[in-house]
Symmetry: C2
């Protein structure tokens, strides 16, 4: 099999890549990396990613890291398969890029800190730091206020169709929907409808099923 | 004139867009946004960027924000002008994307916090918080260790030629070269040579000259 993902099922970045591969209906091999024993901080994993973070990605002789670079590679290289996740039109693609940057620069920090505190730490036997939750929840709310206005005018964040700009959010949204932070989403009707829509995608449901196995 | 940049000369994100336009030898109009009076947090600027951050970018009827989305749009739309800043080859572009993500996800946070504390705060009459500097300097050093290894094997971060992956670093590197953090760069020979190389580019020197006017 040509495509391999070296990662961990609890990792939002790994799930992001799985979601993209599923949307593109691509087969891949999952190679688990044991974060508990620090496998990601040692060779051979460091030869994939010198920062020691999952996932590492292989497609034949090409090796990549950084989940958002991987999804862009997949979306462009397998443009003719599955769901189109980027636009060919230059201006539409520019708008999509803006919202990909917003996810990475504005949404990711509060959302991943909240996922870590409220979902991942309890799952691995660590204790939630409530002070971090108190601090990050309003930060996330500010971002979602902008999303609410955007989604009142546009069906999806990047444009009229589901794209990478939406897909990149899925792992953190999925985590937070099982926590008190769900209320921050639910209180914004367009955000709430968007979350329900993208979480219901079969490609995402396959990721959740894989994690729950 | 078709291209307008609404921004501020002290803003790293604004300088990033200027550097890109200069590499592409494109004319543009600079529309100053007064951050001191909070012009970026009010209309009409919020219609550019609902997060209230400079720059806002116009190319005819297209309006964009997020500096890295803007540079990608410029690099692709004006591919035939000035310096090529992205690759056509899918695999080379994927590697370039990895290093663009590294800049955005790993380098930006410590570098921009250090630029803010050591350069921008003194420039606008605020006092540097030494505790932040003490905390962020080793974070930046860890990123530059990875860069040192990468640049020992590759002339530029994204590949054999200067690309957006390098360009995106320029504003923060330029700021920090005038501070004690310069030593963190200078102690790594490949990083140091890379910095000297990219800071000497005529397109970047034009940005510095514009700021110093």
């Amino acid at each position: 099999m040509a495509i391999k993902v070296h990662g961990a099922l609890l990792s939002t970045a790994t799930m992001r890549v799985f979601a993209c591969l599923n949307e593109k209906e691509l087969d891949f091999e999952f190679v688990p990396v044991n974060l508990g024993t620090g496998e990601h901080k040692k060779e051979p994993f460091l030869s994939f990613n010198p920062f020691g973070q999952v996932p590492g990605f292989e497609d034949g002789d090409l090796k990549l890291f950084e989940s958002r670079a991987i999804t862009q590679y997949i979306a462009r290289t397998y443009a003719d398969k599955g769901t189109p996740l980027v636009y060919e039109d230059r201006k539409k693609m520019a708008i999509l890029s803006v919202w990909m940057e917003v996810e990475a620069q504005k949404f990711e920090t509060p959302a991943s800190k909240l996922s870590w505190e409220l979902c991942i730490k309890p799952a691995i036997g660590m204790v939630t730091d409530d002070a971090v939750v108190e601090e990050q929840e309003p930060e996330l709310a500010k971002v979602l206020d902008v999303y609410e206005a955007r989604l009142a005018k546009s069906k999806y964040l990047g444009g009229d169709t589901f794209t990478l700009a939406d897909l990149h959010h899925l792992p953190n949204i999925n985590y937070l929907m099982g926590t008190r932070v769900k209320a921050v989403y639910d209180s914004r009707p367009h955000v709430s409808a968007w979350c329900a829509d993208i979480l219901a995608r079969p490609a995402w449901k396959k990721v959740v099923a894989m994690r729950n196995q």
